[in-house]
């Protein structure tokens, strides 16, 4: 079965989501058990993929429906079937999706309430998870679009989960419009590329692109669509609404979902058009979007009155750091300057740090809301008297979000500062200033939520063990990644960086042979 691991990692959660409502109709305990079984199997299979690809340094090609998994091309040297192609970057994204997915699943099992439609929400959760895994594993452009839409629809269904309130459906509608528009731009670009080269495989198209006008138009459309999905600043309106209104267990996957869009962006820039991007213009464009996102989101976080939206703007701002890292890397790809590699390392390392940090904060927002019945900062206060451990975790998460040593946020941000300074000092200065601003914002939030006099009328619900377990895992990740960044950079991040920086030829050769 090991030879089928990449496809099983996508199909097992899909199968789980299909069967989940049926189990739910029989017995609820069976349904929860089924979800756990599906989670464990997905974990095992995707870890097999990650270990083999990240450790062995090979690009794993799986051709669906062919006579053998490796037979990607037919007579004449072109692929006709859908090819899953897992290189180190895909495997790294798979690890992030696994971390977030498992933690969110553990949290979901206890956090959601039966009468609120837990079965349907869990089903959508598994679909979103499968969609993200498919998005990062696929090596086919149209298949990429299909998984893009799976994640969009599942994510929007989850955002509208609290349908009895007035704000979640609105947030979900807004998000849906942006996601769909982004998806249509991607589809249009896929259509243009198909019309030009009569192919849909990323590796094959990449070997054919000429960099002509049509290619540039397709690149522009892909960038636009993916930046819309990622929530970079001109198109960021949906992101805080979505993060703020979705149930917290889903938000952690929504964050990974935006990261998957950034993965798509890097795949497009470095692999699909990696051979013809002779100008650093695209890199500069992405870096500019990144800095804009960092600054605007940090400023917006300053004025928020709702804890969920405040953290959400913090999350959007973190996204800017990844874009900045990728952009600096892309801008220096052609010149081969060494700091480009550092920037990519920072950007990619920041993805997993962001998933852990922002995920932890959102899970805590959920706990706070459950405990105090509200998310508004003006009505919260003094929760530290009752929720001691949660307060500590929140402080940890806030400091990591703002990039304070020795936590993981610092380990990746310092790489981004350092390298973007080489490209243009103004980028680094803006990024550092926003980080300081963000520190002030999250500390103020911590102060107003957890400190202060003990509230008299507060019925605090005890936090369940499942949520504690989930949050503890993420806190462990934050501390360990912060204390030993060298180890993780070497074994997790560097293979992914090399896959982007110098791995294009391997990526093409894995499918096309030779």
């Amino acid at each position: 079965m090991v030879t089928h691991a990449p496809v099983l990692a996508i199909v097992i959660p899909l199968l789980g989501a299909f069967a989940l409502p049926l189990w739910g109709k029989l017995r609820r305990e069976l349904r929860d058990l089924w979800a756990i079984v599906v989670g464990v199997f997905t974990l095992v299979v995707a870890l097999v993929v990650a270990v083999k690809v990240l450790g062995g340094g090979e690009v794993w090609v799986y051709t669906l429906g062919a006579a053998s998994p490796a037979a990607a091309v037919v007579q004449g040297g072109f692929p006709i079937r859908i090819v899953l192609e897992v290189d180190a970057l895909s495997a790294f994204m798979g690890v992030i999706a696994l971390l977030a997915g498992i933690v969110g699943l553990v949290y979901t099992l206890q956090f959601l309430r039966e009468e609120e439609g837990k079965t349907l929400a869990m089903s959508l959760y598994l679909l979103l998870w499968a969609g993200i895994l498919g998005l990062v594993y696929t090596g086919d452009l149209f298949n990429f679009f299909v998984f893009f839409e799976i994640t969009s629809i599942a994510a929007c269904g989850l955002i509208g989960y609290r349908t009895w309130e007035s704000r979640p459906p609105e947030a979900a509608f807004k998000t849906m419009v942006m996601y769909t528009l982004g998806g249509l731009l991607v589809l249009l670009a896929v259509g243009i590329l198909y019309g030009e080269y009569d192919a849909l495989n990323i590796a094959y198209i990449s070997s054919k692109v000429t960099g002509g006008l049509l290619d540039r138009i397709a690149l522009g459309l892909l960038l636009g669509g993916l930046l819309m999905k990622a929530g970079a600043v001109p198109a960021h309106m949906w992101a805080p609404d979505a993060y703020g209104e979705a149930p917290p267990s889903a938000t952690i996957l929504l964050v990974v979902n935006t990261q998957a869009a950034i993965y798509g962006l890097s795949r497009v820039v470095f692999t699909l058009f990696g051979g013809v991007l002779a100008t650093p213009g695209v890199g500069w464009l992405i870096a500019a979007f990144g800095v804009l996102t960092i600054v605007v989101a940090a400023l917006m976080a300053l004025v928020q009155k709702d804890l969920g939206r405040l953290i959400a703007f913090g999350a959007v701002s973190q996204l800017g750091y990844m874009l900045l890292g990728l952009g600096v890397g892309a801008a220096s790809l052609m010149t081969g300057a060494g700091f480009g590699q550092v920037a990519l390392r920072g950007g990619i390392f920041h993805m997993i740090n962001d998933a852990a940090t922002v995920g932890l904060l959102f899970l805590l927002v959920g706990v706070v809301q459950r405990a105090a019945g509200t998310k508004e900062l003006s009505r919260l206060g003094g929760l530290g008297h009752v929720l001691k451990a949660e307060g500590g975790l929140f402080l940890l998460g806030s400091l990591a979000l703002a990039g304070i040593p020795p936590l993981n946020g610092f380990a990746s941000k310092i790489l981004i500062y350092e390298s973007s300074f080489h490209l243009s000092p103004i980028l680094a200065v803006l990024a550092i200033l926003s980080s300081i601003l963000l520190l002030a914002v999250v500390l103020r939030a911590f102060h107003s939520v957890f400190l202060g006099p003990k509230p008299s009328v507060l019925h605090v619900e005890r936090t369940q063990w499942g949520t504690i377990l989930a949050m503890g895992t993420l806190a462990l990740v934050i501390v360990v990644f912060g204390l030993f960044p060298g180890f993780f950079v070497k074994h997790l991040v560097d293979p992914a960086v090399q896959a982007l920086w110098a791995g294009r030829a391997d990526y093409l050769a894995a499918v096309l042979g030779g």
Binding site: G160, R167, F173, L181, G244
Partner: protein, 112 residues
Amino acid sequence: MPFVVCMLLIAIGLFTLLVRRNLIKLVIGITIIENGVNLFLVSLGYVRNAVAPIYTYAPPGASRMVFPTPQALTLTAIVIGLATTALMLAFVVVIYRHQGTLDGGKIRELKG
């Protein structure tokens, strides 16, 4: 020329998104864009003087067949578009239930 028409259809949809505030009309605008993209996709595969790519009772004289891949892709894209439209309409229904209006300008509770 047909490609230009598809692109104009997409432009009309984008224009709808920009000038209309009614939520239903936003959904209609998205559907128009979707149809433009689907039309573009399926027209990519047209080959002059060719028949449909189906061998059952194919006309014996025809030498060429239209490209089948864009048709398959369009089929997938149509179903995906249908699914998004259904979900968006469900959101619109719920928003209307809560707010009593469909005017996008009036119901922006979530500003920022």
